[in-house]
Assembly symmetry: C2
Homo-oligomer: 455 residues x 2
């Protein structure tokens, strides 16, 4: 332990090595429930690539595990410390190195906060789409590690689609450059993509070349009330089948609507079973919303309200953004699931979650990136009640089993971490797991990078 700290100091400034146990304890975990966190030996806060290399060389020399961290807003425990590890926080590497409107790329360090980058590129008429709920806190490095999504994915895709190239410090401290800054490239296996969603198990991302898009027009939002989740899902399917390209297509169930009203007194319609929000950032969003409104009515919507302007649109989005915070007040604890099913299976998924809530006598609020089939059932329970906590955990698992049975995945955008480790093997199957382990072994033969995560 003393040797570890001494060696780290050889290549890091004093203020970049934290050993005070109260301080290091505050780096122990991310925002996942039901995920164990150990006690880190030390927290390091490098500012340069060379310093990260020094940390990894030290870790390899002394065989100390390393847990990379961004803003710790993750929901799967992927950033949780293990006992005696080095927590490698990348938050001080937070420079935007370049924004190029012609090549439509940004080059950034991993600690850049998502919202900071989004605003910086917007100033140049550009757009970095991935927008996880935690976008004001979460870092690009964390987004890459978890493969983060957001509201815009139905039109613009997830983080993976915006990562063109990477610089990565390997477990042994060597520097790997992957990918490109060109629009296209097929030189060798796509190692860049391998790092996205790898939760820091393959290497430490220290620089990223990100693709940007031209800034779209401001979006306009519509709200539609449905008498059942099935009717709302039928509308979603029809909207997508007709070739519409909404910039957002979100669903909230009654439990969620009530929770949001309780929190923010927004006057959302509590008599409705499912509220659908659709948005367009097209040249003529009002026309697109009108067409989508008609599809909603045909699918059984009792009320269709297009926002008249940006302010009204913003209010509707605000309601959606408050969903998680609102549901967190329902019990004393929450577990957020992240099951993504084929769009055609959205209705049975949502109905199945309602049945699971009934079976376990739990409040499970559900909001969904409906256009993607990506549901977030949020199990609300009393964390101090052992029986209710056990039922919460069981219901959480049953939701994943349902998602897999419907041809879906256990995680659309939150990742595996510790929380869904056992389930990953069920989704991938033995052949898949064997190959994934093999790949991990290639990058991290000593097993020092975020051990115990993923599988």
């Amino acid at each position: 332990m003393r040797e570890l700290i001494e060696r780290l100091h050889e290549g890091l400034p004093a203020e970049a090595v934290l050993t005070d146990r109260d301080v290091t304890a505050s780096y122990a975990h991310d925002m996942a429930s039901f995920s164990e966190a150990g006690t880190p030996a030390v927290v390091v806060l490098p500012r340069t690539v060379e310093q990260v290399q020094h940390v990894m060389r030290t870790a390899t020399a002394l065989r100390v595990p390393v847990v990379p961290q961004g803003a710790r807003t993750g929901l799967s425990g992927a950033a949780n410390a293990s006992d005696g590890c080095i927590v490698l926080s990348l938050v001080k590497m937070d420079r935007i190195l370049e924004i190029d409107p012609v090549d439509r790329v940004a080059v950034v360090e991993p600690g850049v906060v998502n919202a900071v980058l989004s605003r910086a590129v917007a100033e140049q008429g550009l757009y970095y789409p991935p927008d996880p709920s935690s976008w004001e806190q979460c870092t690009i490095g964390g987004n890459i590690g978890t493969g983060a999504g957001g509201l815009c994915c139905v039109k613009y895709g997830v983080t993976a689609e915006y990562v063109l190239g990477l610089e990565v410090v390997l477990a042994d401290g060597r520097l790997l450059t992957t990918g490109r800054r060109t629009a296209k490239g097929v030189a060798g296996y796509d190692l860049t993509r391998l790092f996205v969603g790898a939760e820091g198990t393959l290497g430490i991302v220290v620089r990223a070349v990100l693709a940007l898009r031209p800034a779209p027009p401001r979006q306009l939002v519509l709200a539609a009330e449905f008498p059942s989740a099935a009717a709302a899902c039928a509308a979603v399917c029809e909207i997508m089948a007709r070739g519409h390209a909404p910039s957002l297509l979100e669903l909230m169930d009654t439990t969620t609507i009530r929770a949001v009203n309780d929190l923010a007194h927004m006057g959302l319609p509590e008599t409705t079973e499912a509220l659908l929000l659709a948005a367009f950032d097209t040249p003529d969003p009002a026309a697109d919303l009108a067409a989508v409104g008609e599809l909603c009515t045909a699918a059984g919507a009792t009320q269709v309200v297009p926002a008249e302007d940006a302010a009204e649109s913003e209010l509707l989005l605000q309601a959606r953004r408050l969903a998680l915070v609102a549901l967190e007040r329902v019990g004393t604890a929450t577990m957020i699931d992240d099951v993504c099913v084929p769009r055609t299976k959205l209705a049975p998924m949502i109905e199945g979650v309602a049945a699971i809530a009934q079976k376990y006598e739990l409040a499970i609020g559900l909001c969904a990136h409906a256009g993607d089939g990506n549901t977030h059932p949020i199990v609300c329970f009393d964390g101090a009640d052992a029986d209710e906590s056990a039922r919460a955990r069981e219901s959480f698992d049953e939701i994943m089993a349902l998602g897999l049975a419907l041809g879906g995945t256990i995680t659309g955008e939150h990742g595996v971490g510790l929380l869904k480790k056992d389930w990953l093997a069920r989704e991938l199957g033995p052949v898949g797991v064997e190959l994934q382990r093999g790949v991990r072994q290639v990058f991290d033969p000593l097993g020092l990078l975020n051990p115990g995560k993923l599988f």
Copy 2:
């Protein structure tokens, strides 16, 4: 050898095992120049996943190398036979298994021809964008193996972005399922993406879940004549910097224009140094073309001609599509390069190619997916002239060196195969190559899958 054929017959119908040497010789190579091809021991044409598994089990048992093939329209030698190998042709596995307009996916076997799929999905109002020049012949399996691109990539991206999930027969005959049919998913490392562009070195793709898009409106094309490549490239940069989203942005140099005129008497303007074609498939393409036309004029275009209708647009695209065939008539042989540079480096790339043509006293025609910075310099030479052939090869290499020096890649969409093997190592560097080899080893420990390709 006799044992190999006998064992193959145990799991394959007689007509699926070809041993006639005249017949098997016709499967020896793809369309790449300067790439050696060996003599296959046997060609197999399985129709089912089980038959592919049988082939791979046999190959593993007898330690016989396997070269997977689609339509052999590749341009890098990736499908060339090696001596004594099993050529595994997937062209008989050509069923479209499913097209789902709600989930926006198609499920296909690898032997489906690109154009067949494109037409089938178009009938349902859907769009499968990747459109390599060989789209009437090439197969989806081959597109996945090479990571194929096309004209539409500037707006719609390459093959990789449309592959959601795969079924793959591994070297030892086991079946691996990767990825998903959902819109999103981050369960484990992205092995799906690893197979795209892997040139059959990691496994045999036997089924693919492909993402589809809604069919866009028909595109309208504009042609602009420029007095220099630099002026045309300045226009390209300006078009992209202003946030336009052309569905196609192509450049042809004088050598190419003349060759097309010689072939098809199309009356293209031979006095121009660079012809730029831009297209839009937006709701109001005429307005977008007008805006882009103004940018072209400001950048120095001497003539800007928007097509009046679909027929005129088609004629302009026809000229671009004829480029390669036309240049093939300039010499007796051609080498097609595929260097992709950042958009901002397109002008020095094109000027550099012109200088290389002059230095080596060769005709090098250049057309480019200019919006992507992806150039196709086409070296035309007399294949019977040893000195000229040597100069052609040298100029080809010098073009790649220039591309790398400008921050580009040796291959934007054609792949590495045999042709660019030595260059791949230069682009990836020693750390990158070591990891890529490690990954290959995980999937193919005996080195039986397309040995000698890539690296």
